[in-house]
């Protein structure tokens, strides 16, 4: 147990801090990451090794050796300075391309993605296939040099603005369900593809339905071999799951609640002075600390290349739940003010807490539902027996 950083890492932290102090004003602010200002910022960060750290130089990254602690320090310092951090392109697709893409695919896709000039959407879920993703029905058959795709995707976040989709389709209808899937890369706007936005409970329309009617993509736009798509996709799910439920996010939001409770009043009393609210805040703070330290434990194992076990399996479930509870507390302490939305008079923090309360519920469902997480924890971490299967053939 030693929470001190090495001299090298302390020096790195100082270097990042002074960079931030000098360049903070060039940062385009938090929020969505498209636009030239965001891309210029990303480019500056890559040049300094603060974004796309481990992506090879030949594909537009900083080409540095992996150093989990340095990445952690970067995240901490950017969050602390409230400056928009850099990214590694898209943590779902870039690692997959690096690992399994052809040289030509790497050349063509990684650089623009890392620079922020090319964005992606994930075409996995279908109306009939959510948690049971491997039952997906969207089909592709080969005709000449093309795959011809027919079917429908749903809940495709960002499909309206994305340039590309990575997509799972069934190419081998006679194979067992996990072995009949292929992983394709499809330019958005390809003829035969139609995107229809879906309105979410928040009022936004980030996700969409995507319909394919005889949509053609060259057979070269496959990652891995035909029928291997499920295994390719699992590589990405791993990366996505790692990101959902980041405990530092809940910790940051909790500090905002403390400020809110110190400043907001009811009947002239500070919210913090109402014992039942204070009690809930303290109960939540304990949970947040516990998850934060759990995160430090996972990190320490990762640094040593040791398997963190259970402490890692619980992060998505517990982290997303904590975010949701954090938003719930903020709303409850605000009472009626907490229900204001959509730019209403008297609104606080632009209605952010209600928005998060809904969004965080979405994230409890998306990326593997809470119930699926519990299955995974039960079966993989605790070794409990699986349920009997009632699969019907595809």
């Amino acid at each position: 147990m030693d929470l001190a950083y090495s001299v090298e890492h302390e020096a790195y932290r100082d270097e990042v801090r002074s960079f931030l102090a000098k360049n903070k004003n060039k940062s385009p602010g938090l929020g969505f990451r498209d636009g030239t200002a965001a891309n210029d910022w990303q480019q500056l960060l890559i040049e300094h090794g603060y974004a796309a750290r481990t992506i090879p130089k030949e594909y537009g990254g900083a080409g540095l050796e992996a150093d989990i602690l340095k990445s952690h320090i970067l995240a901490e310092e950017f969050a602390h300075a409230k400056v928009r951090p850099g990214h590694s392109g898209d943590n779902r697709i870039v690692p997959v391309l690096l690992e399994l893409g052809t040289e030509e695919q790497k050349e063509r896709f990684i650089r623009p993605t890392v620079r922020g000039e090319m964005s992606w959407c994930q075409g996995y879920s279908e109306p009939g296939s959510g948690s049971d993703l491997a039952s997906l029905q969207t089909k592709a058959h080969v005709d000449g040099d093309d795959f011809v795709i027919n079917g429908q995707k749903i809940w495709t976040s960002g499909a309206k603005t994305a340039h590309m989709m990575f997509c799972l389709v069934r190419t081998e209808p006679d194979a067992p369900k996990h072995q009949g899937i292929s992983y394709l890369l499809i330019p958005m706007g390809t003829p035969g593809m139609e995107v229809r936005p879906l309105r979410q409970m928040t009022g936004d329309s980030q996700f969409n339905e995507v319909f394919f009617t005889d949509c053609r993509v060259p057979t070269t736009e496959i990652v891995g071999n035909r029928g291997e798509g499920w295994y390719v996709a699992n590589a990405t799910l791993k990366h996505e799951r790692g990101g959902l439920g980041d405990p530092n996010q809940a910790a940051g939001r909790f500090n905002d609640i403390l400020d809110l409770m110190k400043n907001e009043t009811v009947d002239g009393r500070r919210l913090m002075d109402i014992p039942s609210y204070r009690d809930r805040a303290m109960a939540l703070q304990a949970r947040i600390f516990a998850m934060k330290f759990n995160g430090m434990r996972v990190l320490s194992h990762n640094i040593k290349n040791e398997e963190p076990g259970l402490s890692r399996w619980i992060v998505k479930l517990q982290g997303c739940e904590l975010n949701h509870q954090t938003a719930s507390l903020a709303i409850d302490v605000m009472g009626e003010l907490g229900i204001l939305y959509d730019g209403s008079p008297h609104i606080r923090d632009q209605g952010m807490w209600q928005h998060r309360y809904m969004m965080d519920l979405g994230l409890i469902i998306g990326g593997g539902t809470a119930q699926i997480q519990k299955n995974i924890i039960g079966e993989r971490a605790l070794g409990l027996p699986k349920e009997p299967k009632f699969d019907k053939p595809i």
């Binding site: 147990m1 030693d2 929470l3 001190a4 950083y5 090495s6 890492h9 602690l69 403390l258 409770m261 110190k262 500070r270 913090m272 002075d273 014992p275 204070r278 009690d279 805040a281 303290m282 109960a283 703070q285 304990a286 949970r287 600390f289 516990a290 998850m291 330290f293 759990n294 430090m296 434990r297 990190l299 320490s300 194992h301 640094i303 040593k304 259970l310 402490s311 619980i314 479930l317 517990q318 119930q371 997480q373 519990k374 299955n375 924890i377 039960g378 079966e379 971490a381 605790l382 070794g383 409990l384 027996p385 699986k386 349920e387 009997p388």
Partner: protein, 363 residues
């Protein structure tokens, strides 16, 4: 940056777990509980051979001079085995009090005796946290009168550490005049708790605690940390037992662990409990390494472990069905130990209020 146990700490855990598995199986615990004995002498002696009573005591005074994280690991192991032995009071709270407020002479005298395991000191400070009925102790002219309730490890103690109404700490010999002990029966028969009555009883004040509440507060912090760790160990055992039972027990021609209702109960217990381990470690590590954070972290550890412990205790019992409710399986020893830890030295609501105060959030 390395947030994990060292090799030595893992070895300490392993050797303790091994020792307790052989010296303190459930049968041994039952004997103590059924005979209403205050402790398992043989287990205590074995722990003394491993140096446990002197875990925190510096080597100069005959101890092994380890830190609070090691002390918490011991507590976790004891909770895991529901070991009926004195520890929290005599091996942790009292040494902390003596080191914080004892005179050189007192340290020399008491710490060496405690480290050997031959002298056991109980702690009665409940009134400083929440006075019930008319309990409370007053000091005048070196003598103490009044009563202290819920004195921890009181039956088997040779000496008592107690606080007077000002918060000053006193050592009182177990056979001093005017001292009486009344056994209090609690749900948890693996712990001994008494009511201590004093009537003009001679006592020795710890000079550093006169007009200075800090030694008292550090003593309470240390106790809370140990109870939190004890709950961690006890809850982990209950979870392990639930998982093992869910794999083996069959109904409807399949293991009950393949039913999602049961699987999810287990997953929820694991998901709640696993981060608690990190919280306890961090709190324990902070006592010496980040003392400005320690009180807050200990409050959170004690309150949060109380909540998660309670959840695991009831859920694990449910996973076991009727068997969980019987004496046969003995699961209830852990259930009760967790229930005991929750109330002693402050229940969760009370401690959360303190967590808010520590951060200056209460006006």
């Amino acid at each position: 940056m390395e947030f994990m146990l060292s090799e030595e700490q893992r070895m300490l855990q392993e050797s303790l777990t091994r020792f307790l598995a052989s010296a303190c199986p459930l049968d041994r615990v039952r004997k103590v509980a059924d005979a209403e004995e205050s402790m398992a002498e043989d287990v205590h002696r074995g722990l003394a051979e491993l140096g446990i009573p002197g875990i925190l005591i510096p080597e100069d005074f005959g101890g092994v001079g380890m830190g609070f994280l090691e002390a918490a690991l011991v507590s976790e192991a004891l909770g895991g085995a529901v070991a009926p032995v004195p520890y929290t009071a005599t091996s942790v709270m009292v040494p902390v009090a003596l080191m914080a407020a004892g005179s050189d002479h007192q340290k020399q005298e008491w710490l060496t005796k405690i480290a050997s395991g031959k002298t056991r000191v109980a702690v009665g400070v409940t009134e400083q946290l929440g006075r019930r009925e008319s309990a409370g102790i007053n000091a005048s002219n070196g003598r103490l009168s009044g009563s202290a309730m819920f004195v921890l490890e009181g039956m088997e103690a040779d000496v008592f550490l107690t606080a007077d109404s000002t918060g000053a700490l006193h050592m009182v010999a177990g056979d001093a005049e005017g001292l009486e002990r009344t056994k209090l029966k609690t749900i948890d028969r693996t712990r001994s708790v008494i009511e201590l009555s004093l009537d003009q009883t001679p006592a020795e004040v710890l000079p550093g605690s006169v007009s200075n509440r800090e030694p008292l507060l550090c003593t309470i912090d240390a106790g809370r940390l140990m109870l939190a760790a004890d709950t961690l160990g006890a809850a982990q055992t209950m979870l392990d037992q639930a998982v093992a039972y869910a794999k083996e027990r069959r109904q409807f021609n399949r293991p009950i662990g393949s039913f999602q209702a049961v699987k999810h109960m287990c997953a929820e217990m694991a998901a709640e409990l696993e981060p608690c381990r990190s919280l306890v470690w961090y709190a324990a590590h902070s006592v010496r390494s980040m003392p400005e954070e320690a009180r807050l972290m200990i409050c959170h550890a004690k309150a949060h472990l109380s909540e998660v412990g309670q959840f695991v205790a009831r859920t694990s019992t449910e996973v076991h069905g009727g068997m969980g409710f019987t004496d046969l399986l003995g699961l209830h020893y852990w259930f009760k130990r967790i229930g005991f830890n929750r109330q002693v030295l402050g229940g969760p609501e009370l401690i959360r209020e303190e967590a808010a105060r520590v951060q200056g959030l209460v006006s």
